[in-house]
């Protein structure tokens, strides 16, 4: 039988039990009443014991959201989301906030252990500090003391709102305004937790920072908000990971991430997104609507986004850079893998405002099954952006003959000295390549993983070491069953 026919048949035989993070933790929860209203917003704010300015900020966002419409320009299709049938707040019941890991509910500790990320500092990957967000709240943050010695603030954003209101007020909403888009406005109204990082002037953050997001509760949306500020002459590397149980209904994840890089600051932000993708029929899975944006505010600042997107039923995500400071640099390295019925519309925006700003976009889209994978990107050079430079490379890889890959680049240049390059390729995993590997003794699934990892190499090598190995395995797992 020809490999292509075989491929399609094998794709159909994929079972959802390949998703090993699909378990549910049975833990006592506390939720807001179902649905969304001003009362929900007030409930969340009260639960978090927030100051009144924060509540006002949320309410303003909520009122604006009511006037907005869900965007429909992306190449994705999904059933309408019923916001009145979603819980906007769910938290494990815990009387007092845990002061140390010893006080964390053992059931939670077991959950993270099952996910392969032990919550005990001594067992945590050397040199990585982790914030654990379970449904709507942060349950633990490791290595805080060590970071504080260096002057780095790393804590749940709910805590930063109370303990560092000046910093939060100064920066939150400056990169992604509450009215920016439908999902960002929604997030601004109901966000529950997320991570906050502040690196003070001249500090090279001594370890990798990481947040691990887990959606557990049923019918619950996760709306996290992350804010990272790198002051002058600093460096910080941050990574996020995420998983969710297998459920038949779709769950909503609408996050906002804001990064601010001041003069000579560098932020490296890596994501390994592994939300539950739904089953092979397209039932269930996470709707992942995320707004991520960085402002390179200072001269010579640099922000680098690296993402490995393998999960979610629907992904709508465009990590972007506003290159305001002269000589600032933005980078976007992306691997998006879609299998079965998954849909991804992802890419980036590079907005060149300052002089001599540079950006680099490397996107690798891989489609298998009946999945649809779209790269959508904007490169814009404003009148003042003399000598702006961009290089974009979009490569698509198809596995089987029922999936789709699409590239939608937008280029707008208002400065004649700007130079913008775009390269795009589309290829298929060839039967010749698979046979060559198999003749050398490498079984077909391993062969496919090897070929795809080779295709993604330029992006994988941008990930921090600890994540690169994980990501390679994830690439292999996501494609399991897509050849035969």
């Amino acid at each position: 039988m020809a490999a292509t026919v075989d491929t399609v048949e094998r794709v159909e035989s994929i079972t959802a039990d390949k998703y090993k993070y699909g378990f549910v933790t049975d833990i006592e929860m506390e939720s807001a009443p179902i649905g969304l209203s001003e009362d929900t917003v007030r409930f969340i704010s009260a639960k978090k014991e927030e100051p009144s300015w924060m509540l006002e900020w949320r309410l303003k966002a909520y009122r604006h959201w009511l006037t907005m419409k869900e965007p429909n320009w992306a190449k994705i299709g999904y059933d309408p989301i019923d916001y009145q049938d979603t819980y906007f707040f769910a938290a494990p019941k815990q009387k007092v906030a845990p002061k140390s890991l010893d006080e964390v509910d053992p059931e939670l500790l077991r959950t993270y252990e099952k996910l392969g990320i032990p919550l005990k500092e001594q067992e945590v990957l050397a040199g990585v500090a982790v914030d654990y967000v379970f449904d709507s709240v942060s349950v633990a943050t490791t290595f805080r003391a060590k970071l504080e010695e260096a002057g780095v603030l790393f804590m749940p954003i709910s805590e930063a709102i109370i303990n560092h209101p000046d910093l939060v007020k100064k920066y939150m909403g400056t990169v992604v305004p509450t009215s920016d888009n439908y999902f960002a406005a929604l997030n601004s109204a109901v966000f529950t937790d997320g991570s906050f990082v502040y690196v003070p002037k001249g500090v090279h953050c001594p370890m990798e920072l990481s947040t691990y997001f887990r959606i557990n509760a049923q019918n619950t949306g996760q709306f996290e908000r992350t804010l990272i500020i790198a002051d002058d002459d600093t460096y910080v590397s941050y990574l996020e990971g995420c998983t969710a149980p297998m459920r038949d209904e779709n769950q909503l994840h609408a996050a906002v991430v804001e990064l601010v890089a001041h003069e000579n600051a560098e932020i490296k932000y890596s994501t390994v997104q592994n939300w539950y993708p739904g089953d092979e029929e397209g039932k269930g899975g996470i709707y992942n609507f995320v707004t991520k944006r960085a402002k390179c505010a200072g001269a010579n600042s640099k922000v680098s986004w690296t993402q490995v997107e393998t999960g979610s039923a629907v992904t709508w995500k465009y990590p972007s850079c506003i290159l305001q400071g002269d000589n600032s640099q933005g980078e976007f390295y992306s691997i998006a893998i879609t299998n079965n019925m998954q849909q991804a519309d992802t890419g980036t925006k590079m907005v060149h405002i300052g002089k001599n700003t540079r950006s680099r976009i490397i996107s690798k889209g891989i489609s298998a099954g009946k999945a649809q994978n779209t790269y959508r990107g904007l490169v814009k050079a404003l009148p003042r952006a003399s000598n702006a430079r961009n290089f974009t490379q979009c490569d698509s890889l198809l596995i089987g003959d029922r999936c789709g890959a699409h590239t939608v680049p937008y280029i707008e240049s208002s400065n004649s000295s700007a130079r913008i390059e775009h390269e795009a390729t589309t290829s298929k995993v060839s039967e010749d390549q698979l046979f060559y590997c198999r003749q050398r003794g490498i079984p077909e699934e391993e062969a496919l993983a090897l070929i795809v990892n080779g295709f993604c190499k330029e992006v994988l090598q941008e990930l921090p070491m600890e994540f690169a190995v994980e990501a390679q395995k994830l690439v292999a797992i996501s494609l399991e069953g897509s050849v035969g």
Binding site: Q433, F435, Y436, R438, R440, G441, K457
Partner: protein, 249 residues
Amino acid sequence: MLKISNLHAAIESENKPILKGVNLEIGAGEIHAIMGPNGSGKSTLSYVLSGRDGYEVTDGSVDFSGEDLMEMEPEERAAAGLFLAFQYPVEIPGVQTMTFLRTALNEIRKARSEKEIDAVGFLKLVREKCKSLNISDEMMKRAVNVGFSGGEKKRNETLQMAVLEPKLAVLDETDSGLDIDALRVVADGVNALRSPNRSMLVITHYQRLLDYIVPDKVHVMANGRIVKSGGKELALELEEHGYAQYEAA
């Protein structure tokens, strides 16, 4: 070692018979050459032996050291000790040759319930093999066959054969695309791998390769069958008279 009996095979999509009753027996340590004109079925035989998709075996059998070769997946055949040196080695962008070959060796070891080799041990092994074949190990750092010259690709095939240590190596038109110097290097490599427990099946158009890799037996293939067998002198005879007399048959 290898016994091909009355093998019939067709191209699946076209339902077109290519092999029409091939009989061939190769003993341990023997080198056999198959010569024949274009379209006689030489390359098809190498693909059918190695299990490539797209060919259907309609009759006959192949016994490989007591196992029914046609029942096995391509990777199982590799683990059983079958190696095909490709006429056109395939490029795999982004995959380092070192990684590729170590994955292959370890998959074969796993299939044989042997212990896997670690990165350090593998590096040592490769360096030894490169040295014994007089091949630079520089190409191990490059992506598999990407940007390789014709000669480099064939040297890479020879090196892979040396590392995987097959019982039977099928060399499919190893001389194609090689100038005389490159041919000599590759042939020297192949000769270095001759051993009493390694058989080889050399498929070629031209007698030239057989000046360097001297076979024990030469077979002429025409129209999907082996029509004549003899010693190494048969190759010289073919060089002189061509294939016309066999094609007419």
